[in-house]
Amino acid sequence: MSDQNFEISFPSDTVKGQEVQERIITCMESISYSDRDIFGMRLALEEALVNAIKHGNGMDPNKEVHVSCHVDETAARITIRDEGEGFDPDDVPDPTDEDNLEKPGGRGIMLMKAFMTEVTYCEGGNTVILVKHREVETEDSSAVAE
């Protein structure tokens, strides 16, 4: 009933990516997801969309990024597909390894995994699926004054 769904394709442009990011966040806000859930989703979306635009499509304006968004009362599920050559996520070095601490790279995927319930790469690394289960409320916000 209150599900929020949309699909969109856009050229490799980080400004367009920001707009899509805001649209997804608006979907979550409309179903009153917590600030913490939204914080995690915004970070994960930023990393995933920038990866698709920059590393996947190589900023090629002739290539597009394809996003599908499904947000309901229990979870947000976002699929992001680029038109690049793909990659093997297992090849990305561990950024927390002592030898890699000062090197760039690998932190985006790591942050996505930390803040999402599930992060799945498929189609040779061209597609990433982000799933965030709604945080369980610890306070009973439905309590009514006497």
């Binding site: 980080t14 920001q18 913490r36 914080f39 915004r42 970070l43 930023e46 990393e47 920038v50 950024p95 927390t96 601490l101 000062e102 760039p104 932190r107 985006g108 790591m110 942050l111 930390a114």
Partner: protein, 119 residues
């Protein structure tokens, strides 16, 4: 482009320390990150500041691209013999530093006063 000259970091001189405060709440946008990175590196490379405190009090979001810029700044500062300290990082953002273990690499303090102390 006028956006290229927009100041994204405000710098205040407190004694011999340069305190740099982020203007933006979200350090996500690629263009802003580039401008911020350039302004911070200029403190070391062009202005030859030897003591820098970076105040994150205003920052609500931070991406891995921003972390990479901070790493560059840290390397530049170390190479130039400058001291660099961070402060005012809210818990959500601090979690990003702990997850990536960059809290071990950067010199992080709770408050600006603590960061200034003994610098």
């Amino acid at each position: 482009m006028s956006a290229g000259s927009t100041r994204r970091v405000e710098v205040e001189e407190i004694g011999d320390v340069s305190v740099a405060r982020f203007v933006d709440k979200k350090i996500l946008d690629e263009t802003n990150i580039q401008i911020i990175g350039n302004q911070l590196v200029a403190l070391v490379d062009e202005d030859a500041r030897k003591k820098i405190v970076l105040d994150f009090s205003n920052v609500e979001y931070l991406s891995s691209a921003a972390l990479s810029k901070l790493l560059i700044l840290e390397k530049k500062a170390k190479a130039a013999g400058a001291k660099l300290r961070f402060c005012g990082i809210r818990p959500d953002i601090y979690q990003i530093f702990t997850l990536t273990k960059l809290n071990k690499l950067f010199d992080i303090y709770d408050s600006e006063d603590q960061a200034l102390e003994g610098l």
